[in-house]
Subunit: 258 residues, 2 copies
Amino acid sequence: MKILISNDDGIDSPGIAALTKELKKIGDVTVIAPRTEQSAVGHAITMKFPLRITEYYKNGDFFGYAIDGTPADCIKIGIRNILKEKPDIVISGINCGSNTAINIIYSGTVSAAREAAIMDVPAIAVSVTSHEPNHYEYAAKFSADLTKLVVQHKLTTGTLLNVNVPDLPDEQIKGVLLTQQGKSKWDDIYEERLDPYGKKYYWLTGNLMQVDNNLITDQHAVRENYVSVTPIHFDLTDYETYDKMKHWHLENMHKQKS
Amino acid sequence: MKILISNDDGIDSPGIAALTKELKKIGDVTVIAPRTEQSAVGHAITMKFPLRITEYYKNGDFFGYAIDGTPADCIKIGIRNILKEKPDIVISGINCGSNTAINIIYSGTVSAAREAAIMDVPAIAVSVTSHEPNHYEYAAKFSADLTKLVVQHKLTTGTLLNVNVPDLPDEQIKGVLLTQQGKSKWDDIYEERLDPYGKKYYWLTGNLMQVDNNLITDQHAVRENYVSVTPIHFDLTDYETYDKMKHWHLENMHKQKS
């Protein structure tokens, strides 16, 4: 099995090392990841600048390829110009910090897996809930187990799995739940400060407004110490509103003009 | 009516000027847009650097606020720290180049409108199909008309409208269609080149693989010279796969371990 591993925390992050170590036990792993941290880049791709591919060594051993771009760039150029063929699966992570509810939209980790899904390659995004995780091992082993399940059951083309794992010792994890994207969102705050020259600047901060209280959601599942697995896709059409909007009679908008 | 206008091509793009001119006829407009072009940034937000707000003048007149960040940043800081209250609607555009099918995922124009929808503000993203458009006026007037319809019918919270307008004279536009996101995707190519020092670098290019051939899709509608209006949202859950995955029995994954 050919496995491509990427992330958004950068190729020297401990999360990608933990994932790689575990996935090497079940397949032929290539690591292609951003040279530097790329958190919250969303699904950005690099078009106005060229990319470079650098071989990356860790403790003297070849570890993989570092790309001076975004997570989505890594998957695109990795499959097109490094692997030169589609891998059997792409795994992105292990991210430091959960990617649940609204955070899925901003996540670079998820966007790497989504780019794979766009290229018709099955994909998993994996995150642990802490920004300074102590427990990558469970998440890494879980990723390997889930990879086997994905190969066995096959994922619908265009679908990826978004996995969030509590940063806890194994025995404190209550179980694994199939979930949906939660509705919790950020209450953003831009802190106003003055630079040394007296000019204002603003830092983004804020609080996540917890509105999810059902284990059917990713957000509540991880808060309750479950591993959360959410199937997501990139068809953004809001079909419910689409049906409602038939009564708007948009076709009349052009006739009114002429 | 309080209207916030943004874009991803930057505050000095002609598309935002055309939109602003038309929307001023129906409401109280504030322009808050990226200082520089931010195409293909997806839904990136700026967390590792502070943002600055600069007043921007055009032909000697105050035009709006320039933010040295992404389109999503503009909406967040614009509503939180400039307007200090929610506008009645956010309009993002007019983008140079269509945002149909897979391009919705990469689009900065759409992400500004999506950030508004995340903040429970109705929103419209507007693009014209050419990268060097000759016909912004129809798209600008259409945006004003659609704004009135959105106010009249109300959009579901969390839904935005993604509008694509052919870059044609009015009389060549065939009509307006309610559409769904198409399935056309990019066949990416990374062109390999050598820098003056003999090192390789790679430019992203490619061809859009046209698989949409039904007027129900945004992609085919604009190719056939119709204005396309697609309701989209940010719930990425793949409910069909969710139902199928109940048979994967993920709950057994944890028990196997202990």
